[in-house]
């Protein structure tokens, strides 16, 4: 190979690597992050409708085959859902009185209660677009009142929080993501505190910083604490205890928890328009 061609090749690769590193630096720097975020925002505004168009074309084909192969299980699921709806209607009637009482108490104590906070209902466009993050993409963005840091809740409890918000779409980091940390409270009278840590999309979540021999029961609920300028309003169900034990000499209890929200059914979620008090 001629020397000049080899030199040109090396130069091209060096330029591309330097360019990539420059883009990464721009993205990581808090002062210039808005630049890359703006580019991504524009790109997402163009890309989202195109992707939806492709999905609209291929979805009926996929649904046809899925329906043909899974008719029995869909019917059984439908019956289960109807039964659940009936139970929820009954529970809703019973809870009406208690919710009114709770709303009055929280109002008196000047605490935000989730049901009194404004929410934006969004549809999930995309789940786990990368193998390295546990995220979902919503069809609502800044123009719809969805901003970075807003909590996202789904059926059963906390789903995650908005980490990127574009014009008409946003990305939500799920509580199972390795970067997710949620301050929680649990136990009778919510006297215990801890942090629910995501361990990645395919691993169990853990509850950390819980003192050894803290009394726990399988199925105990953990709620957002709302303490220490927390990222979430208090009282949202986060997780339920699956296993727990204290190893000899350990400084904290080892607790594995499951998400309270059903993270496998995230077709629609609510974005809570709530910002932490500073």
């Amino acid at each position: 190979m001629p020397r000049s061609r080899r030199s040109r090749r090396t130069l091209t690769v060096i330029i591309l690597i330097v360019l990539s590193l420059s883009l990464i630096s721009l993205d990581q720097n808090t002062r210039t992050h808005s630049l890359t975020s703006g580019v991504k925002s524009v790109a997402n505004d163009v890309y989202a409708p195109l992707r939806q168009g492709v999905l609209d074309v291929i979805s009926p084909i996929g649904n046809f085959f899925a329906g043909a192969f899974n008719y029995g299980s869909v019917q059984a699921q439908n019956e289960r859902l109807e039964r659940t709806i009936g139970q929820l209607r009954a529970a809703q009637l019973e809870q009406g009185f208690e919710q009114n009482q709770l709303r009055e108490i929280t109002a008196l104590q000047n605490l935000p209660f989730l049901q009194s906070l404004p929410t934006v209902t969004a549809q999930t466009q995309d789940e786990y677009s990368s193998n390295f993050t546990a995220t979902i993409t919503l069809d609502k963005g800044r123009a719809d009142g969805v901003d970075v840091g807003y909590p996202v809740v789904g059926a059963g409890g906390l789903v995650g929080k908005v980490i990127q918000s574009f014009h008409h779409t946003s990305i939500v980091q799920l509580i199972t993501d390795g970067q997710s940390k949620v301050d929680v409270t649990f136990g009778n009278g919510n006297q215990f505190l801890g942090i629910v840590d995501g361990q990645g999309p395919s691993s169990s979540m853990t509850a950390d910083l819980v003192p050894p021999h803290t009394p726990l029961h399988k199925g105990d609920r953990m709620y957002t604490s709302g303490l220490n300028a927390a990222s979430f309003p208090p009282g949202i169900p986060v997780a339920t205890v699956r296993t727990f034990h204290t190893s000899a000499g350990a400084s904290q209890e080892t607790i594995e928890v499951d998400p309270a929200a059903n993270l496998s059914q995230l077709a629609y979620v609510d974005v809570v328009q709530w910002v932490p008090s500073t």
């Binding site: 090749r9 993205d27 990581q28 991504k40 492709v54 390795g178 395919s202 691993s203």
Partner: protein
């Protein structure tokens, strides 16, 4: 350039609409790395690096991972595959599957490590065994159609396919 851009766009759409739904053990196949791998096999390290950079940058626009990271890994991957396979016989049937397998796994590893260095520690907290199995096997299978697309794209750019002999070009892929 237009054909290459079109192929990158098609692969992005297929990845984000069809492939992401094919999750096994929480992991889905990854078509991105096959673009620089096939470009490098067909036209050498420089083309591999260029295609890897632009493909990575396009994917970076829609992925939640740090912006520019896929472009960097795609560029390095394209250059490495092109350089390492320079001496190999381009007609060898094992070349594409082996390059796809080794290249995809190395790219995923590099992507995760660089992501962790950039503060995204969750990127090394994933189940690497599942990732390697799903991405490795799917890359071996999917390298053939992606290679065909890339061949069409590079032919349109008037590239001299130095690593592909006329005999190989007349084959199915």
């Amino acid at each position: 350039m237009l054909r290459v851009a079109l192929v990158i766009f098609i692969v992005l759409m297929v990845q984000q609409t069809v492939i992401v739904a094919l999750r096994i053990g929480g992991v889905h196949p990854d078509l991105l790395w096959l673009l620089p791998i096939t470009a490098a096999l067909l036209d050498g390290p420089e083309t591999g690096a260029i295609v890897g950079f632009w493909a990575g940058l396009t994917f970076d626009l829609v992925l939640p991972t740090p912006f520019g990271l896929s472009a960097l890994v795609g560029c390095v991957l394209g250059y490495a595959v092109g350089s390492l396979t320079k001496a190999a016989d381009p007609r060898a049937t094992w070349l594409k599957p082996v390059a796809a397998l080794a290249g995809s796994l190395a790219a995923d590893m590099l992507f995760a490590v660089l992501g962790a260095i950039l503060g995204q520690s969750q990127m090394v907290q994933i189940d690497f065994l599942a990732l390697f199995l799903v991405v490795g096997i799917s890359s071996v299978v999917l390298v053939l159609p992606v290679s065909r697309l890339m061949r069409w794209a590079l032919a349109g750019e008037g590239h001299r396919r130095s690593l592909v002999s006329a005999q190989a070009e007349s084959g199915i892929w």
